[in-house]
């Protein structure tokens, strides 16, 4: 407090508080970064080995291209340990003969994770298709057609509430709605059908879709629907009102205006939010637990046993069977990455071998989600350049 310097400042306690607050805020931010980096480092450190092998070219893709299986761990009397598949375990045991000291089997932890990857991809495909269609319809209605008022407030409240519903509740809803009651067209309605509407040529039976990709995908769609609606509506609102007025002033109808002068400029944002929705859908476990996922399945969804075609079957029969195979994937239950991770982590006895498979899956899963997020960022930057106003 020098008399010669009027700007020296004299409120020490305010200054101390300023410094303390700045450090508190700064440390908070650093802590968040630290936790993120720690998670990534830990998972990479533990999970990366699942994708590596000691000899050239060091990358082991079998983890990505094989179906999960039971892992056999064989130790001989010299203490050499071999990890192998059930088939090879037999050969090795024969070779070792009396040298065999011990054999351990760990379910689910062997082979790769192709099944779960394919399953997750199918679930995401169905859920995003459904959620995008419903979500964009809803967002367009809310943003472009509906008048402000009680009804709109109610719809918005409903969407907000939907976003707050715990995912396990969605799982139970999916079980009740899609697995057990959703309608199917069938000539022979099941006994468990809630009710059956005869259509003459066939029946509309409310007997559910069983646990399958379709049930799981629809359930997941409702999990990500609030995100997609909210984000799409924001993107539509971000399109200048002037575009709408100008378009209407040039004699366009509402729909022409939306189709030509609103949607194209909202699409980049809608796509971005969709990709984030994909990441969310890919990561949910609870909604698919009762609706689509299996802990173990030794076949890919299209490897279904269909009756063999007669040798003289024509082109058409082959073609028909291929279509049947393609559509069939949606009515199969599948393995999925998050559920596979859950199985490895919580359903089997823990040891170093299950841990490697578990961290390997988590690592692959994390890479998938990260690349989806990266795609969304790239898409946003790229499309923004194209559509700016």
């Amino acid at each position: 407090m020098s008399a010669s310097n009027p700007f020296s400042g004299d409120n020490d306690s305010a200054r101390r508080r300023e410094t303390a607050m700045r450090w508190l805020l700064r440390l908070g931010s650093y802590f968040v970064v630290f936790v993120t980096v720690a998670i990534f480092a830990h998972i990479s450190h533990k999970g990366l080995p699942a994708l590596l092998k000691p000899e050239f070219p060091y990358i082991d893709t079998s983890f990505l291209t094989e179906l999960p299986g039971t892992l056999h761990v064989i130790e001989d009397k010299q203490g050499r340990v071999t990890q192998t598949s059930p088939q090879e375990a037999e050969t090795i045991k024969k070779q070792l003969g009396n040298e065999l000291r011990s054999e351990k089997t760990i379910s689910y932890a062997g082979g790769g994770i192709l099944g779960p990857i394919v399953g997750t991809a199918l679930l995401v495909l169905v859920s995003v298709t459904v959620a995008l269609f419903l979500g964009v319809c809803c967002a367009i209605y809310l943003s472009e057609y509906a008048k402000k008022g009680k009804f709109i407030e109610m719809v918005r409240l409903a969407i907000l509430n939907l976003a707050g519903v715990p995912s396990v509740v969605f799982g139970l809803f999916g079980l009740g709605a899609f697995v057990l009651t959703a309608p199917v067209l069938t000539d022979l309605p099941a006994d468990r059908a809630v009710f059956v509407i005869p259509l003459g040529f066939t029946n509309l039976s409310f007997q559910g879709w069983d646990t399958c990709v379709l049930s799981g995908g629809f359930t997941l769609a409702f999990v990500i629907l609030p995100v997609i609606i909210t984000a799409s509506e924001q993107c539509l609102q971000a399109v200048p009102q002037g575009f709408r007025e100008t378009s209407m002033a040039l004699g366009a109808t509402r729909w022409q205006t939306i189709w030509r002068s609103v949607l194209p400029f909202a699409t980049p944002g809608i796509l971005t939010s969709t990709i984030l929705g994909i990441a969310r859908a890919a990561g949910e476990t609870a909604p698919i637990m009762f609706t689509a996922a299996l802990a173990f399945k030794d076949k890919l969804p299209w490897q279904k046993d269909l009756p063999p075609l007669p040798a003289d079957a024509g082109m058409f029969a082959h073609w028909e069977q291929s279509v049947q195979r393609c559509l069939g994937v949606f009515t199969e239950s599948v393995q999925a990455l998050p559920y596979h991770i859950y199985t490895l982590a919580a359903k089997i006895p823990q040891n170093e071998y299950s841990e490697q498979a578990q961290y390997g899956s988590v690592f692959v899963f994390l890479i998938l989600v990260a690349s989806l997020a990266a795609t969304s960022i790239w898409l946003r930057i790229h499309l923004r350049k194209k559509y700016k106003w």
């Binding site: 575009f243 100008t246 002033a249 004699g251 109808t253 030509r260 559509y387 106003w389």
Partner: protein, 261 residues
Amino acid sequence: MPTDSPSATPHPIISVERFNYAYGDHQVLFDVDLPIRSEDVTAFIGPSGCGKSTLLRSINRINDLVDSARVVSGTIKVDGVDLYSPEVDPIALRRQIGMVFQKYNPFPRSIFENAVYGLRVAGITDKAELMDAAERSLKAAALWEEVKDRLQELATGLSGGQQQRLCIARAIALQPRILLMDEPCAALDPIATAKIEELILSLRGSYTFVIVTHNMEQAKRIADRTTFFYKGKVIETGDTLDLFTKPGNKLTEDYVTGRLV
């Protein structure tokens, strides 16, 4: 109380009759009576919030897009047809009454697509017909020479004045009879403004212009007739020269001499 000079209503193409208009419970136009003559340039002047833009936007019913906007009573007739009667389709109406907005806002599409937007939404797909229409309207908007070699480029790359002329071209591509302009030069520099004014004067006679402007000098330069609005009412309407040189109302006089804000 509108004070009308004797020559006011030989052929009113638009006639506003005891028109009351509100946003929700907030009334913004009170008993507006206004004949607008065919082929004239009519300017609406008045301080901000006086209702001149609302009236303009009611003529092509673009204000229908505002949720709370409603006609309280009265009519706007074009050629004797009440624009707010149930038989009138606002879409068809807007094809015949063009509008140019304050902020030039071409769509972020090519210059060509902007010029033919109205024709496309009207269902015209013939390439040659669209090209003809684009050329005709761009020429009329005095923009053809500047853009004829880059019709496929983004319209948003043009200068502000060019963009606004493109918006005018876009509106006249539909060959409307009436062109409404809501402060068409408010976002432009003086040179671009001069070009737009020149354009309006060159198109005068081909269309009936109704122009909202804050710029009284502009009204003097381009308008045949001027209407002064104050607090939702038409205070005075008359030939532009008369209104500015010998205003019949104290409020008009205060406004045109800059004493009323």
